[in-house]
Amino acid sequence: MNIIVCLKQVPATTEVKVDPQTNTIIREGIKSIINPLDSYALEEGVRLKERCGGKVTAISMGPPQAEEALREAISLGADEAVLICDKAFAGADTWATAYTLAAAIGKLGQYDIVICGRQTLDGDTGQVGPQLAEMLGVAFIAYVSKIEEVAPQRLRVRRMVEEGYEVIEAALPAVITVVKEINVPRLPSLRGLARAKSAAIPVWTAGELGLDPKLVGLSGSFTRVIKVFSPQRTCRGEVLQGELEGQVECLVSRLKDAGVI
């Protein structure tokens, strides 16, 4: 099987602050990691390869330093990696990102399955997976919690929904997004780390993908971020005082008065 895993490099923490002067997110001094849910996607890709044979290619669109995330992917079992990197890609929304990834996957050639994490830690949209599937013109399944069976041309998975789970069969090729229930990602191996160190990671630019710069990055995006701010929270309640028992009594009477119990 030819398995493609899409990864994004994200800040290691969501505890970020907004610079009140520039209205932008302060990223300095924050370590970068593979988006946690993408590491489940990678693990599932590697397991699929171990089960069915084939090759795992990790791709990432991002700045030059996203190469680190791809090297890490190789240490975790990916066979090859491609960095999709061009100044023209900066500021892409989910549409422009999916459009660019689709072009890169087109250049990679024949594939059976594309695996993405459910959503990223930073953007939190969960939209790139389904939009990528649409642009590739293949089947899509979100929230996959288990790959039950893979046959030539066919895939059977469990997909989580609010009420439980569904068993879905899809024609291959397909794009799936995975949830963290799907596996426990492995740690790197020494041989993987050695391979990661020496692996050649090609960099594909807009030109090499034959993309019109107007359709990628910020200029290819339909959405605009007009403001970024830190949420404000104001204390609206009261901390009850006195003996614990009295506090509990007081709480019960307040809730009764409010008519909620």
Binding site: E15, D93, I168, T223, I226, R254
Partner: protein, 331 residues
């Protein structure tokens, strides 16, 4: 610009097995406000098979309902829904499309936006209108709720957004409202589903679904051990409440994922939310802070949960909760 020919607000009214989801009514309530600001009308678009009580969409605020009721849509095949939604939007040109950020909505709506070549904002927690520019101002959390962003879609139409269930409040139904139900035949031309539903397995661990509960008792890391959740189940049964949990409690395996409230779990908006041993990380707060009354029980007076709590008790939860159960039993 081309946008000028796009008018009206649409709400994608999601159903499951013929039953409409509450998020449709919530979006209709919010959509009505937006429609007034834009002086335009609001429609619901509903796809499925054997859908019950479609007129409730009108009672909840829709001026018009586009209804595609066909046996082929019974299993929520996303390929078919995507195809049909794209067709309807191209035909009727709404300027705004809102949908629930449900498992289904989050899978289908991005694909619709991809085909229509327009912007889509995920998981909005606030929607507003810039009436002069007829722009939808979409506020969404990023970085797990630590950052809020306001997003617009200046050029693409329609402007599309998904909203998590329970972020907005539905209006009480008004049975006297008049509206039109437009029945549309499913257009099977040129589309086949590449996925097939083989089986649905209901999650039975969820005794009372937390999204629908009026009272929620939620536990976090402070419980210290899975077996201590028994105490919360008891409190919940006294109150007729559902039990929820913060992410650390779910990660520890104390409670199944379906009970998780917060950024990576569910958003809830009950009348009463009792947070026990939950410190109140921002990732948790985004999932519950719109609850009517929030009670926090925690031994750390500096825990951020007290910043959103209506009533707080600083104390040992292992003392407070049994007392509370006792007092409630004898009320």
């Amino acid at each position: 610009m081309e946008g000028e020919s796009y008018r009206g607000i649409w709400v994608f009214a999601e159903q499951r097995q013929g039953k409409l989801k509450d998020v449709a009514y919530e979006l209709l309530a919010k959509g009505r406000e937006l429609a007034s600001a834009l002086k335009t009308e609001i429609s619901a678009v509903c796809l499925g098979y054997g859908i019950d009580e479609v007129d409730k969409l009108i009672a909840h605020g829709a001026d018009k309902v586009y209804l595609v009721d066909s046996p082929e849509l019974a299993d929520s095949q996303e390929d078919l829904y995507t195809h049909e939604l794209v067709k309807l939007i191209r035909e009727h040109k709404p300027e705004i499309v809102l949908a629930g950020a449900t498992a289904f909505g989050r899978a289908v709506i991005p694909r619709v936006a991809a085909i229509l070549k327009t912007g889509l904002t995920a998981d909005c927690t606030g929607l507003d209108i810039d009436a002069d520019k007829r722009l939808l101002l979409q506020t969404k959390p990023a970085f797990g709720g630590n950052v809020m962003a306001v997003i617009t879609c200046p050029a693409g139409r329609p402007q599309m957004a998904t909203v998590r269930p329970r972020v907005f409040k539905k209006n009480p139904p008004d049975g006297t409202r008049k509206g039109e139900i437009v029945k549309v035949d499913f257009d099977r031309e040129g589309v086949t589903s590449r996925t097939r539903l083989l089986q649905f397995v209901e999650d039975i661990t969820e005794r009372i679904r937390i999204e629908e509960a009026d009272i929620i008792v939620a536990g976090g890391r402070g419980l210290g051990d899975g077996k201590n959740f028994d105490m919360l189940w008891e409190l919940a049964s006294v109150l007729g409440a559902a039990v929820a949990a913060s992410r650390p409690a779910v990660d520890e395996g104390w409670v199944p994922y379906s009970h998780q409230v917060g950024q990576t779990g569910k958003t809830v908006c009950p009348k009463l939310y009792i947070a026990v041993g939950i410190s109140g990380a921002v990732q948790h707060l985004v999932g519950m802070q719109t609850s009517d009354i929030i009670v926090a029980i925690n031994d750390d007076p500096n825990a951020p949960i007290f910043e959103v709590a209506t009533y707080g008790i600083v104390g040992d939860l292992f003392k407070v909760v049994p007392m509370l159960i006792d007092k409630l039993k004898n009320r």
